[in-house]
Amino acid sequence: MTTDARPAAGYGHGYARGTALAAIIVAAVWHVLNNLSGTIVYRDEYRTPWPQLPHVLVPLAAWVVIAALIGLATADLLRRPHDTPQLSAPAAPVLVGVALLLAATLVVSSSACPKITFLSGNWAWTAFGWPAMLLLWRSPIGWLLGALGVNAVAVIVAIWLTRDVDRVDAARLVITLYGATAIQMGLFAGCRFMQRVAARAAAARAASAELETRKLVAEQIHEARQERYHEIGHSMGEILGGLADGSSDPGDSDVRRRSAVAAARLRRLIAERDDTDSPLLHELRACADIAERRGLVVGLEVVGRLPDLPVVVRRALTEAPIHLMAVAATDCRITIIAMPDEVEVSAVADIAVGMRIDESAGTGSGGATGVTVSWSRDEEAVWVRTTWCAR
């Protein structure tokens, strides 16, 4: 059974969106407050191979590239549904983005003067993790860890090559990198954990909603069945009671007729439970099946496509054929002519000798509206037509 699990999914979806938004805000705020202000404050502390241009243009260009990457990653994160399954590996554009990010980081690091190595003017190497986190949001956690590792190695090598590094500097370098990486990884792992918890909660909620729906459906089916059993239980009980206490004679044609009608109704009741494409046909077949066991030959033919009919209408349409089959001698021809707004069930049969037919059968039965019954008979056969009209 597939019940509507959307509310529960939305519940998990909300959590996933919340964690993504938190990461985006951290990355964007950090990029503006720390990185941009660092670049501006230390604008005179950059050196590039192009002395004819203001040196600060190079870290500014790197800042713009990283800002653009944050923008693209944000757009992607907010556009796609957050319950999209996580990828087993990042897509190619994501890897290109990470490579660009790394290049921009190295450009900033290598253009910063040695005196600002550990100041916010050399912001990029510690800021790498935030945009990288956004880019690798849907990738397994190992990819972010790997990217941070590559960044750390690249930054250490770049600093080692471009300036003199003493033991104290080396220690600061390692501690700063460790600190930044720990915070970034911590946030990322925390978000992942939240997502997983939310997804589990959503699944649990969906499961309980489905369970509840099933329970409701089962209750409704049970009630409807009880009601129908009650309806036929009375006549069944009367017949069986009469046979048991000897007040009814099984040889009596009227007892036989009433028994046949009750048996067909019982069979119809069971058939009503089945899930079929065309319930009316299925129920008529079930009733015919009961009659055929008595030796009656029943032909059942259909023209047209049956519209969806409520059970009360179907019962009203099958009631008269049930009564006719109960008294038929050898053959019964049942036909259905179906149109979208009109269905006619016709039954023709020869009547067994001594059998009385109940021509009130099917008229005004079960509260179905729009159903009319017409009986006609000649010396050879009895013909009953039950018509349902939507208008």
């Binding site: 032909g299 033919e301 023209v303 047209g304 021809r333 036909t335 002519i337 016709s346 023709v348 006609s376 000649d378 050879e380 056969a381 013909w383 037509r385």
Partner: protein, 221 residues
């Protein structure tokens, strides 16, 4: 089989892969009090029946599935030289319409055989339409865009004939004579003969209907 001097107007050949059907057909032909048909060939293989006197029979009664092989595609060719009546256990509307369109004069389902066999074959030999309840159903169920337009009375007659196996009851229900009901039903069948692919039996059936006054020439364009 009678050895009297009755002239049997209609010669018929029957092909069916079940011997019991052939025996049944022989019994029906013999039991006809008017002895309208003369069985000149029968067998389980079409080629062997057509190799013998069955070749010149007025009407070929053909089972549509002979040892698992469909005969539907052969009807067009077979109907060039004789009238063909399909006699099959297959009852689907689409098959019935396809077989009639291919050039069969009539379609008889196996369960309708006993009631209609003699009349269907006799009518086919005279190029007169004969509509069994199954054919009525197939016409009623037709929803193809190029189906002929039937009048309300024609549709009603087909509908009642599909529902009730006795034409006099149908006639009484419509407040008409059996002959008039027959005319409506036949007219519906003639309209079917004027659409679809051309076949000798269709042209002959339309010509016969005009001759009989069943339809006017302008009714068929």
């Amino acid at each position: 089989m009678g050895t009297d001097n009755v002239v049997r107007a209609v010669t018929v050949a029957v092909v069916d892969d079940h011997e019991v059907v052939l025996a049944g057909v022989r019994a029906w032909v013999d039991a006809d009090p008017e002895q309208r048909l003369q069985l000149v060939g029968y067998g389980v293989r079409i080629d062997s029946v057509l190799a013998g006197p069955g070749r010149r029979a007025h009407v070929l009664v053909l089972d549509l599935g002979i040892f698992g092989e469909s005969m539907v595609s052969r009807i067009g060719v077979l109907a060039q030289e004789r009238r063909v009546v399909a006699f099959s256990a297959e009852t689907s509307d689409a098959t019935i319409r396809a077989v009639l369109d291919a050039g069969a004069s009539a379609y008889l389902t196996k369960h309708e055989g006993a009631d209609h066999f003699i009349e269907v074959v006799a009518a086919a030999a005279e190029d007169r339409p004969y509509v069994t309840p199954s054919v009525a159903r197939a016409m009623l169920a037709d929803s193809s865009p190029n189906r002929p337009v039937l009048s309300a009375q024609e549709t009603r007659a087909l509908k009642l004939w599909f529902q009730h196996p006795k034409k006099h009851t149908v006639a009484r229900d419509m407040g008409l004579s059996v002959e008039t009901v027959d005319q409506y039903i036949s007219r519906a069948r003639i309209k079917y003969a004027t659409v679809g692919r051309p076949a000798p039996n269709k042209a002959a059936m339309v010509a016969r209907a005009i001759e009989d006054g069943l339809i006017r020439p302008e009714d068929v364009r």
